[in-house]
């Protein structure tokens, strides 16, 4: 928990700030069998970025990046809508969408692991082409559907809680558990810090790399499903547009280094919630939403400064010096 203190503090500060301007911010009511209120809204609307952030955290931990997740969301939403409209049923829609997401992930993973292409370049291809593929599926229209089962994923609620919120929380918890209860987390961190030494220690670096991109693709598919289900239609142009950037931002705000290694999924999820709180808060507080991006930019710069290796050096020197001295004295 200590490691996440800055993220928790930031989130608290954002919430306090918004509450000052908009006193009713934290109130939650129960009406019509649903919880209603700004915090619930944040949990629901933050779902796509939170889901993307989970996969992105793992990718970034291997010193990679996945620019294509927004486009993959569009592809998977389109595939699901196409399957529903075509009368193939909910099972087929979900299966095809998740399959498409994983396929995209494998494509990215192979480019990175087998061809040795820089991640940013490799995923750029699908980022550019993916939206075209999604439009190909929807034939350029917004493919609307009326299927309560699928719509439930986006706008339904269970025990009063919106389904998207439940999905991302469950996804985060399951991934977190899998990563930390198995050795996956350790192996991913090892590859991210030192791929060569990891290979020498017998890690299957290539398979691991493909796996993290596959996971990122899978979560992008789920995020795409939620967005598509919410608006009851696949909008190939706008589904997931620029969300890859928000997801990367969430990971960075979550205290994860872009240089790979140690990662915290919980941190990234907090990052996603910080971003969504700012978005929702600015809206509620009556500020024009145009300030949103300016504030976001300011936040990124501040966080970058806190993370900067060069600034860290400047600040860490006085602290590290006493540590080094005893060793030299021991010579």
């Amino acid at each position: 928990m200590k490691r996440l203190a800055p993220q928790l503090l930031t989130l608290a500060a954002v919430i306090v700030l918004i509450s000052l301007v908009f006193p009713g911010f934290l109130s939650v009511e129960f009406s019509n069998g649903r919880l209603v209120g700004a915090p619930i809204d944040i949990l629901k609307r933050g779902a796509p970025v939170a889901l993307l952030a989970i996969g992105m955290t793992l990718v970034i931990a291997t010193r990679g990046i996945d620019l294509s997740v927004g486009a993959v969301m569009a592809i998977c939403g389109a595939v699901a809508a196409w399957a529903i409209v075509g009368g193939h049923g909910l099972g087929a829609a979900l299966g095809l969408a998740l399959g498409a997401g994983m396929l995209c992930g494998i494509w990215n993973g192979l480019l990175v692991a087998a061809f040795g292409i820089q991640p940013i370049v490799a995923t750029l291809i699908l980022m550019v082409a993916g939206r075209g593929v999604a439009q190909l599926v929807t034939q350029g229209t917004i493919l609307t559907f009326s299927h309560e089962g699928l719509a439930f994923l986006g706008s339904g609620s269970l025990l009063g809680v919106p389904v998207p919120a439940l999905i991302w929380i469950a996804a985060g918890a399951v991934t977190g558990l899998i990563v930390r209860q198995t050795a996956l987390g350790l192996l991913i961190e090892a590859v991210g810090v030192n791929p060569r030494a990891s290979t020498l220690a017998g890690l299957n670096t290539r398979v691991l790399l493909v796996a993290v991109y596959l996971i990122a693709g899978l979560f992008a598919a789920i995020a795409g499903l939620i967005v598509t289900a919410d608006i009851r239609g696949a909008d190939a142009n706008n589904t997931g547009l620029w969300l890859e950037l928000d997801a990367i931002l969430a990971v960075v705000i979550g205290g994860n280094s872009l240089l790979g290694g140690r990662f915290s999924i919980l941190g990234s999820l907090l990052g996603a919630m910080i971003i969504q709180s700012i978005n929702t808060g600015i809206l509620l507080a009556g500020y024009p939403s145009e300030f949103n991006l300016v504030i976001k930019a300011g936040l990124v710069v501040v966080i970058l400064m806190l993370q900067s290796p060069r600034l860290a050096q400047v600040f860490a020197l006085p602290r590290r010096a006493p540590l080094a001295r005893p060793k030299e004295a021991g010579e």
Binding site: E189, A190, T199, K327, E328
Partner: protein
């Protein structure tokens, strides 16, 4: 011959956390001489050069250029003072043309734009006298390494002009290219430059040097006229074999008659090491001796599947072994503690515990995690057994000293309980105490039935631990010594023999 030195150092000291890299080094370079700097890896050659060129800050001592004290803070400053350096690699930019490389930062301009014609003329003028007939408007990367080296020398000489330091310039050149390079060096010597030449190819050292200085473990061993030493004595100085001393008390290990466990036939890899045969018996230590660049590390990497062999076969008893990747080697019960711990060994940001369990975990697969309690037990166990100095198992391994990092890597492999463990320079750069512990550990492992392949530049040490010794030279396994024939003298002979030919 007693011209006053152009560059000299007095009482240079340089320490790193955990080790002393240079101790009281005195060094003189005369104008018009080629002065070879010799020593094994970690002897302090590159640290000395870095201190002279400002790439590193010295702890104490003075550097004099023409008798004036200097203190360059960067290689650029040293270059401006007159000291130019050419490294084995990464001197110039392969993606720029030869002319752009030669004139970068001082391109001739006309109306604010680079004057390509004048630049070409200037580049050709800079290369005149180097015997190169090349098109300076082509990318540097399209020329051979030898040409690139000469271009780098031309740039360094043009920018500095007094002292030229050549750091392993011939490492990737063939014989003809070496001659081309030496032609250039001789011409520069005749022009009165002082040239420091670092190389581990003794033939080349004797061919070109006027004087030579030997370093070992950060200390100055000798500075002498090249004509006054022979190959044998030089190697002895480099490897720390004092010929006058009595033969160390070493009971030649009894010849191990255990049946062969692993056998390698005709294993080789083009450009790395010539095909060789190797038998590994249970419970024996095979030493591997040879100068730097003789193919020792390459042999180890080949055995471990890191750079797979392209000829030959490996057998485990009578089953064939594939060994196409470290994973396969590990599955066959191999382990490998590499020479360069920082880049190939430790995962710096991860804890001591995680580093120790890493290989074991990789073999079990991600889905079968080692329980945390078991991990901690393993880690604390090895921390105690190997006396790893760390505040605890959760300390990031990157913060430990070199010797302790080495022990962590040893622990990683011991936790695997391998049959065959390869140790590449296991005692390099670690302090004396840890040194002895690692040697003791090697003996204990062998007693437990493990087979080891130990690569080391410390001849005494290697003789002391090995049952058999493979000697390498020029990327070939040239001799195998065992029993009474296994002495440091014989090894030095075997290394020197081929060179004399």
């Amino acid at each position: 011959m007693d011209a006053s030195p152009i560059l000299s150092a007095r009482g240079l000291n340089k320490g790193f956390p955990g080790t002393k890299a240079l101790t009281d080094i005195d060094f003189d370079l005369r104008p018009g001489e080629v002065h070879a700097l010799l020593g094994e890896n970690g002897a302090g050659k590159s640290t000395l050069v870095k201190c002279l060129t400002g790439a590193m800050r010295r702890d104490s001592g003075t550097i004099l250029l023409h008798g004036q004290p200097i203190s360059p803070a960067s290689t650029l400053e040293a270059q401006a003072l007159g000291i130019g350096t050419v490294y084995q690699e990464v001197n110039l930019l392969a993606n720029l043309t030869v002319a752009e490389n030669l004139t970068l930062g001082r391109q001739p301009r006309r109306f604010g734009l680079v004057d390509r014609r004048a630049m070409k003329a200037e580049a050709e003028a800079m290369l005149a006298g180097y015997g190169l007939a090349i098109n300076v408007n082509r990318d540097l990367g399209s020329y051979s390494v030898a040409v690139q080296q000469i271009v780098a020398i031309a740039r360094a000489v043009a920018l500095s002009g007094k002292v030229l330091i050549l750091d392993e310039p011939t490492a990737s050149l063939d014989a003809r290219e070496v001659e081309l390079l030496f032609g250039v060096v001789e011409r520069l010597r005749a022009k009165g430059l002082g040239i420091i030449f670092i190389s581990h190819f003794l033939d080349q050292v004797f061919r070109i040097s006027d004087r030579l200085t030997v370093l070992r473990n950060g200390r100055l061993i000798a500075t002498t006229e090249a004509a006054e030493v022979d190959r044998h004595r030089l190697i002895a100085m480099m490897l720390g074999r004092d010929l006058a001393a009595q033969e160390a008390a070493h009971a030649p290990a009894q010849l191990n008659d255990a049946p062969g466990m692993l056998s390698f036939r005709g294993c080789g890899r083009r450009g790395a090491v010539e095909p060789f045969d190797l038998e590994v018996r249970q419970g024996e230590v095979i030493g591997m001796a040879g100068l730097l660049g003789s193919g020792r590390t390459e042999s180890a990497e080949l055995l471990f599947g890191l750079s797979p062999r392209d000829t030959g076969e490996a057998r485990d008893g009578d089953r064939p072994l594939s060994l196409a990747s470290p994973r396969e080697a590990i599955a066959a019960g191999f382990g490998f503690a590499p020479e360069d711990r920082k880049t190939d060994g430790i995962i710096a940001d991860l804890s001591v515990r995680e580093n120790i369990v890493l290989a074991l975990q990789a073999r079990r697969g991600w889905a079968k995690p080692i329980p945390r309690a078991e991990q901690t037990r393993l880690a604390t166990d090895y921390i105690r057994q190997l006396d790893i100095r760390t505040p605890g198992p959760e300390k990031p391994v990157g913060l430990l000293s070199g010797g302790n990092q080495q022990k962590v890597i040893l622990a990683r492999w011991l936790a695997m309980n391998p049959r065959f463990l390869i140790l590449d320079e296991p005692t390099r750069g670690i302090d004396v105490g840890a040194h002895a512990e690692i040697l003791r550990l090697i003996r204990r492992l062998v007693a437990e039935g493990m087979s080891l392949l130990v690569i080391s530049s410390e001849l005494e040490e290697l003789v002391a631990v090995s049952d058999r010794m493979i000697v390498l030279r020029d990327r070939r396994h040239v001799a195998e010594l065992a029993g009474g024939g296994l002495t440091a003298d014989r090894i030095v002979d075997a290394i020197a023999a081929g060179d004399a030919a």
